[in-house]
């Protein structure tokens, strides 16, 4: 590079200066871009000034505590406490970081969120690094759904985290498209179309297809259907003694076959969930329905935008099932454990869960909240004023207790993002897709 200075031309020095200035300016803006990211990870566990205790809460995505005003409320009731939230957008970045922080015993927030896909791994491998919340004051086991409590509890009855929200499922559908295709639009009639049997949902899809509005499909993807069906059983990838059984488990087989039937009959939009194209299909009204857990309503609203307002509605799913949800725990290496336990207990109490639901539609894991007006009478304006409190609460009450295992997430991703996507987007046969998924899972599980 040094050879540039050898140029004898008149303007070269100015050229170099301008170029350097440009590079420097751009470089500076890049650095600034980088440094803005680091806001996520600032001084966890530090104590604020003036004798105040700062409790840090590490979450991924939007938990809604801040949005629902819960931090302000708690700070008002406890003047010596300030609460600071460290948010990382996606769990697939958040969780590995949590694991490294746990291993190092530093860098942890006083309260750490854990996604349901990781809770079993945390319970089986990290339990020693969390406080036992089962006997903490202010925590009442009977407040929580039994299966939710059990998921975060070790074999020797240590509860490492408290349930925040769950993801009871319904079917979200577009009334305008259903009407054009000659299907009922009233949510009870729609729910009755497929009540009790997922294959009736596919049958409705075949009816839809006969007079489908051009350019639309009945559902978004085979992967969403697969997830919904496989979660409506009590055993999926692991049996109750912790063995990997996905190859023979009836839930996976049924879910896979139904997903393949939907896909090969042309009922799906062949999309990948949470992908850009999925978002665009929402915005353009490209599909008529999808299995939707409660937390997805906000996503649908955001992606469908104003053009979808009043066109979406919510009906009961064929079978109750859970998709997603989270927990919060208190790491033992934290600085303000006692205060953090109190805050965690308060945040997960039924009243607070109801407030979060009112703001964020994250469905409470505390059944005590279901009878509170904030949940019981909740209607969603964007979804034709559907009584979502009632719909999701009745689903939540009969969700089966699903056995979860440490590598659920890897197995699920291999089946949907490799197996199903190869069939949907690369023209492979279902048998080829399944073989690819099995190979993927073998590689992922092999240490």
């Amino acid at each position: 590079m040094g050879t540039t200075t050898k140029s004898h031309r008149h303007r070269s020095r100015r050229t170099a200066a301008v170029a350097l200035a440009a590079v420097a300016a751009l470089g500076a803006s890049l650095l600034a871009g980088c440094s803005s990211d680091s806001g996520n990870t600032s001084s966890p566990g530090s104590s604020g000034g003036k004798g105040k205790t700062t409790i840090t809460v590490g979450t991924f995505g939007v938990f809604g505590y801040k949005q629902a005003g819960l931090y302000d409320e708690y700070e008002k009731a406890h003047p010596n406490i300030t609460i600071k939230e460290n948010v990382i957008e996606r769990n697939d970045t958040y969780y590995p970081q949590l694991l490294t922080h746990l291993a190092a015993g530093s860098g942890l927030s006083d309260i750490q969120a854990i996604e349901v896909g990781n809770i079993n791994e945390v319970v089986t491998t990290q339990a020693a690094k969390f406080e036992d919340l089962s006997k903490a004051s202010g925590v009442d086991k009977s407040n929580f759904l039994p299966w939710k409590w059990a998921q975060a509890t070790t074999a020797d009855n240590k509860t490492v985290a408290l349930g925040t929200d769950i993801g009871p499922m319904a079917i979200c559908y577009r009334t305008d498209l259903f009407k054009k295709a000659g299907l009922p639009t009233d949510r009870t009639k729609v729910g009755a179309l497929w009540a009790g049997d997922w294959s009736k949902y596919i049958a409705a899809g075949k009816t839809y297809k006969k007079s489908a509005p051009t350019g639309t499909t009945f559902m978004d993807s085979a992967a969403g259907l697969y997830q919904a069906v496989s979660n409506s059983y009590s055993e999926r990838y692991y049996d109750s003694s912790g063995n990997v059984v996905y190859k023979t488990s009836p839930s996976v087989k049924t879910a896979w076959n139904l997903a393949m039937e939907a896909s090969t009959s042309g009922l799906t939009g062949k999309l990948k969930l949470f992908d850009k194209a999925w978002d665009q299909a929402f915005a353009n009204g490209k599909f008529a329905s999808l299995p939707c857990p409660s937390w997805m309503l906000g996503y649908i609203q955001e992606k469908s935008g104003d053009s979808g307002k009043g066109k979406w509605d919510v009906a009961a799913a064929p079978k109750p099932a859970n998709w997603g949800g989270s927990f919060i725990g208190v790491p033992s290496a934290g600085k303000n454990k006692a205060e953090a336990v109190k805050l965690a207990a308060w945040l997960t109490a039924p009243e607070q869960q109801a407030k979060v639901f009112a703001k964020q539609a994250s469905f409470p894991s505390a059944p005590g909240a279901y009878d509170l007006p904030a949940v019981k009478d909740a209607k969603h304006a964007y979804f034709n004023n559907a009584p979502i409190g009632e719909i999701f609460a009745s689903a939540a009450k009969s969700i089966p207790t699903l056995v979860i295992g440490p590598k659920d997430q890897q197995i699920y991703t291999a089946i949907t993002d490799v197996g199903i996507l190869q069939v949907e987007q690369q023209g492979k046969t279902p048998a080829q897709g399944w073989a690819a998924a099995v190979k993927e899972i073998n590689n992922a599980l092999d240490q």
Binding site: T3, K6, A22, L30, D92, P96, L99, V418, Q425
Partner: protein, 344 residues
């Protein structure tokens, strides 16, 4: 520069002798001193001076080496050590020594070979057009142009753009239903391509991001080298009746040979470590590099093993294999350079 270097080299020798040297010299001076206090002060001053001369260069260069040790050397060694263990991110304390198992298993690991193949093909289809275009552009920019500064700065803008921004824009452009490229191809009568689903289409898309980002950078390097070519060479070539093209082929390119070799080395290293572009092009779960891993590079496979499947030992072995591959590539490049020099 050379004498300074030898000074430093000399300085390194004395601490190695165990700090005995200064004491010996002090002992030699002692009999000549009469006022013990003044002698002591003098002794201290000269000692400080000597330390300053010998020590300061180390102090000046130490920040780089400290950072290098903390963020370069230590991770390298730690990764190498980890690669001999079965170790999971979920349970770092339970290590189990497995010898070379993490390396030997790579031979049977079809995902590894697939990633290696993808890294190679993406490397070729991104580097070759990139360097050829950079050479051509540099040649054009080397003419007297109106607003040459503007063009030169413009060349560097893609390089200064963050990978994330570039990859997001390109991912939108390569979208199946609403992408600009499919829209343009549609006007030309081609059907919709699902760029991400196909092997070649996805690799071309990823390569295009790399090409867009790095062509300008290489152009400026070539341009700098071209401006160092003595103009009398062109004059005499012109006198001999050489056309512009002949001048380019027989004067510019041979004079640029060392620079070209440099850019090839740098681009090859970049291609071997390619990560951000395919990761972001893949969307959610981008580390898989597509549903059939059709654009999963070695960097992505390493990431998938380490941070999605939490197999740190396996990931470390892949990292070290990549490192060894780079050493191999560097060696081949060195040989090629030597051969080029001899043939000249």
């Amino acid at each position: 520069m050379v004498s300074e270097l030898s000074d430093i080299a000399g300085a390194t020798a004395s601490p190695a002798q165990g700090g005995a040297a200064p004491r010996d010299e002090a002992a030699q001076h002692r009999p000549a001193d009469h006022d013990p206090a003044a002698a002591l002060r003098r002794k201290w001053r000269s000692r400080l001076y000597r330390w300053d001369v010998k020590g300061s260069p180390y102090a000046f260069v130490s920040p780089f080496f400290l950072f290098f040790v903390a963020f370069g050397l230590f991770p390298l060694i730690y990764t190498g050590w980890s690669s001999f263990y079965r170790v999971e991110l979920t349970n770092l304390d339970a290590r189990e020594f497995v010898g070379f198992h993490n390396y030997t298993r790579l031979f049977q690991d079809e995902f590894f070979w697939n990633a290696l193949r993808n890294t190679f093909t993406i490397g070729v289809i991104s580097t070759v057009p990139q360097l050829l275009m950079a050479l051509g552009l540099a040649h054009l920019l080397n003419y007297r142009l109106r607003g040459s500064t503007f063009f030169r700065v413009a060349m560097l803008v893609p390089y200064a753009t963050s990978v994330a921004a570039a990859a997001l824009v390109f991912t939108l452009m390569f979208g199946t239903d609403y992408g600009m490229i499919n829209w343009a191809l549609g006007h030309l009568g081609f059907g919709h391509t699902d760029w991400r689903a196909g092997t070649w289409s996805s690799q071309i898309a990823v390569s295009s991001i790399v090409i867009w980002r790095w062509t300008g950078y290489n152009t400026l390097i070539y341009l700098a080298a071209m401006q160092a070519v003595p103009s009398d060479l062109y004059e005499s070539a012109a006198l001999d009746g050489a056309s512009r093209w002949q001048q380019f082929r027989h004067v510019t390119v041979p004079m640029l040979r060392p620079t070209i070799l440099f850019t090839i080395v740098v681009s090859t290293i970049g291609a071997t470590q390619l990560f951000g572009e395919p990761y972001l092009f893949g969307g959610t779960g981008g580390e898989k590099g597509g549903s059939a891993h059709q654009f999963q590079t070695l960097g992505l496979y390493l990431y998938e093993q380490g941070w999605t499947n939490y197999h740190l030992g396996r990931a470390s072995a892949i990292a070290w294999t990549m490192f060894l591959l780079l050493l191999l590539i560097a060696a081949v490049n060195g040989l090629a350079a030597r051969w080029l020099r001899k043939s000249q």
